[in-house]
Each structure stands twice: as structure tokens, then as C-alpha cells.
Amino acid sequence: MAGTVPFKLITPTEVVFEGDAELVIAVGTEGEEGILPHHAPFLTALRPGVLRANKSGGNRLELATGEGFMQALPDRVTVLVDRALRFEDVNPAEARNELSAALERQKSAADPAAFAREQAIIDFANAKLRLTHH
């Protein structure tokens, strides 16, 4: 491994994680983006999904994150998201209900914006469920 990079995960109300990471993987609008240390300046929008980071020392960080942005610079990686939930914050039954309700609403979505809004809820619910499946 080419060392580590300072990584910060920030929501509007708190800094959820701050530490060194060997690798950060987030779900971009174009698919998963993996960031290694010394990455060239890069900025992308994120979809709701599971964000993973290999912390220095071998521990893994896994969180269900809402919509946001990821900024990679050679000397740091910063992720801004609406929400970030850890495994222990997820209620699987609730997530399943959210998922089925959103799928139902999406069928009758009137316009692309409403469709996209439901898709974001679906993606976040799926991310929460994926966390609990490990």
C-alpha cells in the first residue's frame, strides 16, 4: 500500500469520522469510486449508498450515507453527506418498510423529479439493509 491519506466524513451536524485511510470507496453518480492516497484533485457527486474506508491498522469503516459529494486531493479526502449511519444505528425492519413504501410510490411518480426523489430513498434504504447483511 502506498501509505495513508487523512480522511474526513462530514454531515451538516457533525464530523462523523476523522482519521487516516488507506482506501476510500464511495458510490458516485457514475458508479463506485475508489480513492487511494496521492489522488489527483477530483470532485464528484455521490448517490446514497454504502461508503467504505480501510482505516490504517486494518480496520474497516462502513456506513450508509445519503446524497453528497466527495473531494479528493493529493493530501486529503473529504466526503460531505446529508446523513451517515453506522451499522448499530440501522433498524432493518424500518429500512425494509421505507424501501417497499418508496418502491410503491415510485410506480406512480408523476415526473422525473419525483421519480428521482423516490430513487434516493430506495438507494438509502438499500444501503442500510446492505450494512446489516454482513
Binding site: V15, F42, A45, G68, F69
Partner: protein, 289 residues
Amino acid sequence: MAALKDLRDRIRSLRNTQQITKAMKQVAAAKIRRAEQAKKQARPYADTLDEMLRDLLVNVSSVDHPFMKPGRSGAPSGVILMTADKGLAGAFNANIIREAEQYRNSHSDALFYSVGIKARNAVRRLGQPDRPTWPLSAQPKISTAREVAARVTEDFDRGAISDITLVSAQMISMMVQRPYARTLVPVEPSARDEAKAQAGPRGAVEFAPSPEFVLSRLLPKYLEFTLFAAMLETDAAFFAAQLVAMNNATDNAGKLIDELTVHMNNARQAAITKELLEIVSGAEALAKA
């Protein structure tokens, strides 16, 4: 004797009032600490969002987002009026509302949205009883901010309003809070020039899929977050204003109590002197007889 009893009653009632204002002062001091803490925790998000926006504004070639273009011409201005839910904070709410009224003098057709119960009441007084309203102190504030942002964005997109202006409080220091009006949307073209001037020597930034796309995602979040930050600031400024107001009220009650106590002592001494005089002159009259 009536005067003496009246004075004693007034002093007792003032003492009660003073106890209440003192308690409110202590509550405000505790709440201010919590509000300041919330403000501090929002700081890292704010800084990073600003940095991203700067990088984007420098790099986009053409901006196709509605927030970057003037709103429908002829549509009224949209004003979000943000105050506290409660009073007892001196002229805090009144100052913000006055700022909004001044804005209306130059934009007579302005449509109001209100955050905070005092703002809601003010908007009703301005003759717009059915405008959307949200409370300031409901938790979590970020959800309220999202709802407000969604509503004003919808109205802006369909041309019901031509801009989004925010009137809220700014906390200059613990002693000084000021009303603050600023236009959030459309984003000023000058912001782009400013960003170009401020951008660090970062060199080429790569965007996925494109700077225009990322910017179109970021602008709505920027509005949401700006409203959230303004709510935190208005909240903190309100408690600061309340602290000052309650401190003054407690001091004033103390001064009044001191003054009335002197009056009461004078009145009591006068009564005693008068009584003694009566006894002495009565005794003298008896001795003479």
C-alpha cells in the same frame, strides 16, 4: 399606614419578578452554550462546501442551472423571514422584522415565507395570512431547513417568485446581534469572479461526470445548508439577546427595589416619630392636668 403597606407589597412583587428574570437569564446562558456548540459542529461542512463551490465556479464553462440565472421577470421577490419563536429578548425580533419591512418598501409585491413564530405573526400583520411557515426551534433543524429549501425552490422553479432573499439575525458578538438581509438565489455573478480571485493554486481539478453536473447537485445543497446555518445563527443570537435583556431586567428590578426600600424605611421612621410625638404630648398633657 396604607403607604407603608403599599410599598412593602410592591417590593415583594418586584422581588418575585427579579427571581424570574434571573432564572431566565441562567436558562438563556445555558442554551446559548448549546446553540454555539451546534454552530461550531456545522462549521466543517460549511468550510468544505464553500471550497467545493469555489472549485466548481472556477471550472464551469457554461452554467445551466436555474439558480445561476435571473428568475422569471415580473414575478415577486420571495423573502424568507427568520426570527425566534419566543420573545422576551429586547428588540431582537422587532429589529429583524423591521429589516424585512424595509425590504418590502422597495419590493412592494414581496411574497413572504416565515421561520419562527414571531416571523409568522409579523407576516400575518403584513397582510399575508396564508403563507407557508415553519417553527425555528423544532428539532432536527436540518429537516426544517430541507423543507423550507424544497418549498422555495419549487416556487422559484415554477416562476412564482423571481428570487430568494433571506432576512435573519447575525450574531456579531454576545452583546451585538444584527438583522441581516441577503439574496441567496440567483447566485450573484460576482460570486464567480470572487471565486476565481480566491481559488488557490490547485491546478486542474477533475470532475465526474462534469463540473456542470456536480454544480447542479451542489447548488440545492448549498441553499439547504445556508438556511440551516442561518437557523443555527438566529437561534444563538436570540439567546444572546435574551441573556442581555434578562440581565438588564434583573439589574433594573434591583435598582427599583433599593429605591423603594429607602422610601419604605423613611415612611416607617416617620410613622414611629409621629407615634412617639403623640405619646409624649399625651403624657405631658396628663402631667399638666
